[in-house]
């Protein structure tokens, strides 16, 4: 018999409790908890649209059982910026014209954020290694990576990088 179970974790900085089915995937839990910035694309671990940060590391919520999040720190795009107060990666993506349909963008931003936390001045190779699990079916990637390079350069106090 499948029973509902309780778990708790920190979601976007707030400690919360959740009732889950043991086989529920984290993407479903997050979306029904109001985090609609988490996108479901392939649902099989390939496209990166469902990327969230678990303990600061990019992870795929479509293949993560929700129970594995118990006790951890989970962040979605909602914790980074809002419509009124966008995150610098969000404004940089807009300035570069790097967004078309936008479906891949929450995952892209979270992967980029995790990368820059770990490697403040990433090389192009670092960007490729950390972001090639985020597929974009519209843009061709170049403008997205330019935006990431630009934010990294700004944070390193080097002004606007000329990509």
């Amino acid at each position: 018999m499948t029973q509902q179970k309780n778990i708790s974790f920190t979601l976007n900085g707030e400690k919360r409790s959740f009732t889950i089915a043991p086989d529920e995937k984290l993407v479903k839990l997050l979306r029904r908890s109001g985090c609609l910035g988490v996108k479901e694309g392939c649902d099989e671990g390939t496209c990166g649209a469902c990327t969230v940060l678990i303990d600061g590391k990019a992870a795929l919520s479509c293949i993560t059982y929700a129970f594995l999040a118990d006790g951890r720190d989970v962040r979605t795009i909602e914790s980074l910026g809002t419509f009124e107060k966008p995150h610098r990666l969000q404004t940089a993506l807009v300035e570069e014209g790097a967004v078309q349909c936008g479906y891949c963008i929450p995952g892209m931003i979270l992967s980029a954020e995790a990368l820059m936390k770990e490697i403040p001045e990433p090389t192009d190779e670092d960007i490729r290694v950390h972001m090639d699990g985020n597929f974009c079916r519209c843009t061709g990637y170049e403008k997205i990576w330019t935006a990431v390079r630009r934010v990294a350069a700004e944070r390193a106090g080097k002004g606007v990088a000329n990509a």
Partner: protein
């Protein structure tokens, strides 16, 4: 029918007793990324081993002891003399999957594309299994058929002992995919020890393009004892692979995969030789 409940043991002994108590309904979950390929078709109770203290990389007797629940991203980001698994990890899928998947999960139940099944055979690693005490299983026995057989009665893979590569030895690794993130068409790893210009010992393993990841003993025999000169590895690859059966894959014919294998075996051997003579792994 799927995961109907879960347990989160906080120590190894607690994990083992939970698995024992649950019997056949226990389902060990580490990164949990494999269940997309091997769906859970009956009611099972997940045993989350991530809190059981099975992660970390430490030096031991001149080699490395890697906890089974160590993330592949930790292998990727570990850099130290003698450590070569960073070169394997970085070519596996995407950063997200490397952050999630564990070394133990990659080899406790292997798929045709399992990269570490290839690398650990070439390195001659030793697997540590806990089940009524602890036992060590060498790579040849461990990978002789699906390793999941070893965990049927409630055992757990707890660590992998990985030899350090250096001091006249070198490691080579080649994995061919279509896109960077794709599944392998052919994966090859080689570990070589030199004595002067002569190959003193060599282990070569391959996966993905053949039915089951395994050592290429005929290639090893063709290389061992040879004095290294131009063309020796390409020749050994051609001779050693002649009798092998290859699998067509992703629209590539058997002939194509066979040719790919010859190229990659030659390249992995050359890379192992270059690092062996250069002194660095």
């Amino acid at each position: 029918m799927s995961i109907s409940d879960f347990r989160t043991p906080h120590r190894l002994d607690e994990a083992l007793s939970t698995i024992k108590q649950l019997g056949p309904s226990a389902l060990v979950v580490a990164g949990g990324t494999s269940f997309i390929f091997a769906p859970v078709n009956e009611d099972r109770v997940a045993v989350d081993i991530n809190g059981a203290g099975l992660d970390g990389i430490r030096r031991e007797n001149g080699g490395f002891r890697v906890g089974a629940a160590t993330r592949l991203s930790a292998l990727q980001k570990h850099h130290e003399a003698g450590w070569v698994l960073d070169r394997v990890a970085i070519h596996l899928a995407s950063q997200q999957l490397r952050n999630m998947s564990t070394l133990g999960g990659n080899i406790a139940r292997i798929f045709p594309w399992s990269d570490f099944a290839v690398a650990l055979q070439a390195l001659g690693a030793t697997m540590v299994i806990a089940e009524n005490g602890e036992r060590q299983v060498g790579a040849d026995e461990y990978f002789s058929s699906q390793p999941a057989r070893l965990f049927k009665n409630g055992g757990l893979l707890t660590a992998v002992i990985v030899p350090a590569v250096g001091g006249g030895a070198g490691f080579g690794y080649r994995k061919q995919t279509q896109a960077s993130f794709g599944f392998s068409l052919m994966t090859v790893a080689a570990c070589m020890e030199l004595e002067g210009r002569t190959v003193k010992s060599v282990r070569v393993a391959a996966g993905a393009g053949i039915p089951f990841p395994s050592r290429l003993k005929a290639v090893e025999e063709a290389v061992k004892g040879q004095a290294v000169k131009e063309g020796v590895f390409a020749d050994a690859a051609a001779r050693g692979l002649a009798g092998l059966k290859f699998k067509s894959n992703a629209g590539m014919s058997e002939e194509y995969i066979a040719n790919l294998a010859r190229v990659l075996v030659g390249d992995a051997l050359t890379e192992a030789w270059q690092s062996a003579k250069g002194g660095a792994a």
